[in-house]
């Protein structure tokens, strides 16, 4: 994009700028004013998180307007250059001090209640319908459908991987979903409570998909739980990244989730299971042919 085109897009986006952004801001290819706020996401929890974020944001804005207003008023009105005489007796006022200590306490409690409610919901990992084990490693993800015998690795896609080399000469803008695309996305059904068992193979990673409102550390030796339920009408691709520094290629281990209709997912799972079984058998045969019989 030329500078001029960029400025034009900035200007038009600014004109239409609103604090609520479309859920798929990234997919629209915008870069400036379309990238100001948190995504609302595609799950009930992600929307609740967004609402909480906006609530606390506006509370902060209101407090800021009042406090900064008083500061700015003082700076303008009580200037020595305008002949202001200091009132040196004004050093203490129990009433006012009591008010500005108690009011924040009340506001904080009012904020803590909805936050705690949402947190309790997030932590409720009961009644899940599908369990997938997610293992972070240097540098990619392994997905394991524990009940269905399907497992695969997910790495940064080849095009991004080529373009991200030092001085590759490839313009990142020419690569589709630069750094946010993988070879094998995680496939999940919509409208299903999917449980993730998150762990790490070597160092700590963190599995983060903003549209689901899920970020969970993948820690070697620990198994963390997380869950999400994608809206029934929100099938599609959702992208995220590792969110915990995990070494040289920390910036190059994206996450892509392919949310499909329940029927499509079932078909995919069946196919993939059969395929993987076949591959495993073929590998077994090869192994038994090349290895001495005693190996079995």
């Amino acid at each position: 994009m030329t500078i001029r085109a960029k400025l034009a897009s900035l200007a038009s986006a600014f004109a239409a700028a609103s604090i609520t952004l479309p859920a798929h801001a990234h997919e629209d290819g915008g870069s400036g004013w379309s990238q100001l706020n948190m995504t609302q996401g595609v799950t009930d929890i992600s929307r609740k998180i967004y609402d909480l974020h906006m609530l606390i944001f506006w509370v902060c804005v209101i407090i800021a307007v009042i406090v900064f207003g008083v500061m700015i008023y003082s700076i303008i009105s009580f200037r020595k250059s305008r002949g202001a005489i200091p009132d040196i007796t004004l050093v203490h006022n129990t009433k006012v001090e009591a008010v500005w200590t108690t009011v924040p306490v009340i506001i904080l409690i009012a904020m803590a209640v909805p936050a705690a409610k949402t947190l309790v919901e997030i932590e409720d990992t009961t009644k899940t319908e599908l369990t997938i084990k997610v293992t972070g490693f240097q540098w990619g993800w392994q997905y394991d459908y524990l009940d269905d015998g399907v497992a695969f690795y997910s790495h940064l896609d080849r095009k991004s991987n080529k373009a991200r080399e030092l001085l590759s000469g490839i313009d990142p803008n020419s690569v589709e979903h630069y750094l946010l695309n993988v070879d094998h996305p995680l496939v999940v059904p919509v409208d299903t409570k999917v449980r993730l068992l998150v762990t790490g193979a070597d160092v700590i990673h963190s599995w983060w998909v903003p549209d689901f409102g899920v970020k969970k550390d993948a820690i070697p030796g620990f198994v963390n739980e997380a869950w999400f339920r994608v809206d029934a009408d929100k099938a599609g691709l959702y992208r995220g990244q590792c969110a915990e520094l995990c070494g040289r290629d920390h910036g190059f281990m994206p996450i892509v989730v392919d949310a499909r209709s329940k029927a499509d997912f079932a078909a995919w799972l069946k196919n993939t299971a059969a395929q993987q079984k076949q591959t495993a058998q073929a590998a077994d045969t090869t192994a038994s042919l090349s290895a001495p019989a005693s190996a079995h």
Binding site: L36, I49, H53, V67, L119, R164, L179, E244, G247
Partner: protein, 536 residues
């Protein structure tokens, strides 16, 4: 006791017979000389750490990797943090403490001058060790300043250098803190009661206790890393029965009070500057003291808010959310008191006041984003993104760094006897205040839009705000060159100032001549002088 010490010191050094040449600095026991060395060291580290920041912003100017290997980029972010925290901000506070605390409490010098020399001279060795790690096989540490295992255990030959550098910095901080506590407790002039002490002395006293409490915890944590790496222990390795998350708990038990170690002295300085340039006593002095003490206490029970995503029990997450939100109450009290100090004052806007006002506005913005980060469900989206980077840079740059600059511009005439170039310092202020926002404000957007921190390259939708941030960064970095130039120029000469460099100034330091004599209060100030200084 205080009497005896003050008396003995007064007899020892009646004349300004300071040693000359290199001996004056290497054998230094004078609080002003040591303070100067601390400040020069901090300024040097500020520019080295700033240089690393410039390289980071250079690589992040546009998507794709143009300059550095990702591993080297990780070294830059790691070293930038370590240098700025342990090399720039903490030594700058100790330098200011050295210069000002004896003058402000009516003492001739710090209580433990030789220890003072030792605690300073550890630092150049610590940082030579740390910085030389760039040149060993495997490069400088790249696992983040938080040193989380198991990643940090993958560090190359620089691993033991990192651990010993941290040990040395910690030892230096502890010794410096002991000196501050002993000086304040034993060297106050008769009549300088605790509740007459200037706010800078109060905040430093509390900071010193925090340092003594938590630096050993950091030392313990990195020692366990060392034995895990070299002696076969498995404190933090799950395969051997250890626990990598335990490191994070121990680290942040140090790390959160550390955050307040970096900011509390700034609270003190701002509490001195705003009354001076409002020509009105500080509003609610006692409330300010109690607020600082409450913040210090709370800082010990909020550490796990740095690690909400590690998978803690629900009850623990709720506890740390509530305790974190509570910190907003005493912090709010401080901001309201500063505002009330300006109310019905008579304000003028010399450079120290300008920096203090920018501190007031911009630190508050950092406070607001801190409140947002306390909300656990929202934190799941903010954690480890540029939103966090924006948050802590707002509290550290226009917070701590502006606090240090405000303090230097406030006391520089006292140190040198000359007024500095006010016009140039005002330029320094406006350039800093504008570009610090161009640099860090867009990082809020980047974080909310989904950009993780500590990545050398990013998806193309993050391009525009990274460019804006980088431009702000370069401009901010360049503007800082004015700072040492203004100080150097002032040290060489300028318009002479009287005892009281600023019309509205109160406090014992302004009762001494400018430049302050080599040995501050060789005879203790009288009660009347102390009462005149304690303007609250």
């Amino acid at each position: 006791m205080a009497d005896e010490l003050a008396h003995a010191a007064a007899h020892d050094d009646d004349h300004d017979h300071k040693p000359h040449g290199w001996r004056r600095w290497v054998y230094a026991t004078n609080h002003k000389d040591i303070g100067t060395m601390y400040l020069i060291f901090a300024c040097t580290m500020f520019f080295i750490g700033g240089g690393a920041a410039m390289l980071i912003r250079l690589e992040l100017f546009q998507p794709g990797l143009q300059f550095f290997d990702p591993q080297f980029f990780n070294s830059l972010t790691t070293m930038h943090a370590l240098i700025m925290i342990f090399g720039a901000i903490m030594p700058a506070w100790t330098g200011l403490a050295n210069w000002m605390i004896p003058m402000q409490v009516g003492a001739p010098d710090m209580a433990l001058p030789r220890l003072n020399n030792f605690s300073f001279w550890i630092l150049p060795f610590a940082f030579t060790l740390l910085l030389s790690s760039f040149f060993v096989p495997g490069g400088a540490p790249a696992g983040g300043w938080t040193m989380y295992p198991p990643l940090v255990l993958q560090t190359g030959s620089s691993f033991p250098m990192l651990i010993f550098a941290v040990h040395l910095m910690g030892a230096s901080s502890i010794l410096g803190a002991i000196n501050v506590v002993v000086t304040i407790m034993n060297m106050r002039a008769p009549g300088m009661t605790l509740l007459r002490m200037p706010m800078f002395v109060w905040t430093w006293l509390i900071t010193a206790y925090l340092l003594i409490a938590v630096m050993p915890v950091l030392a313990g944590a990195v020692t366990m890393l060392l034995t895990d790496h070299f002696f076969g222990t498995t404190f933090f390795t799950a395969a051997g029965g250890g626990d990598p998350v335990m490191f994070q708990h121990i680290f942040w038990f140090f790390g959160h009070p550390e955050v307040y170690i970096l900011i509390l002295p700034a609270f003190g300085i701002v509490s001195e500057i705003i009354p001076t340039f409002s020509r009105k006593p500080l509003f609610g002095y006692e409330a300010m003291v109690y607020a600082v003490a409450s913040i210090a206490f709370l800082s010990f029970i909020v550490w796990a808010h740095h690690m909400f995503t590690v998978g803690m029990p629900l009850a623990a997450q709720l506890f740390f959310m509530l305790s974190t939100m509570l910190i907003a109450v005493p912090t709010g009290v401080k901001v309201f008191n500063w505002t009330a100090t300006m109310w019905k004052g008579s304000l003028s806007f010399e450079p120290p006041m300008l920096f203090a006002l920018a501190f007031l506005f911009l630190f508050s913005i950092g406070g607001f984003s801190g409140l947002m980060l306390a909300m656990v469900p929202a934190d799941y989206q903010y954690q480890d993104t540029y939103f966090v980077v924006a948050h802590f840079h707002y509290v550290l740059v226009p917070g701590s760094i502006f606090g240090i600059m405000a303090g230097v511009y406030y006391w520089l005439p006292k140190w040198t006897g000359n007024m500095y170039d006010l016009k140039l310092a005002t330029w320094h202020f406006w350039l800093s205040a504008i570009f610090v926002n161009v640099l860090f404000f867009p990082q809020h957007f980047l974080g909310l839009a989904g950009m993780p921190r500590r990545i050398p390259d990013y998806a193309v939708q993050f391009t525009d705000w990274n460019m804006v941030s980088s431009i702000g960064g370069f401009a901010f970095g360049l503007s800082q060159l004015l700072f040492p130039y203004i100080i150097w120029k002032c040290a060489r000469g300028g318009v002479r100032v009287g005892n009281k460099a600023w019309e509205g100034a109160h406090g014992l330091e302004w009762e001494l001549p400018s430049p302050a004599p080599y040995h501050s209060w060789t005879t203790a100030p009288s009660d009347a002088v102390i009462a005149r200084g304690a303007a609250h």
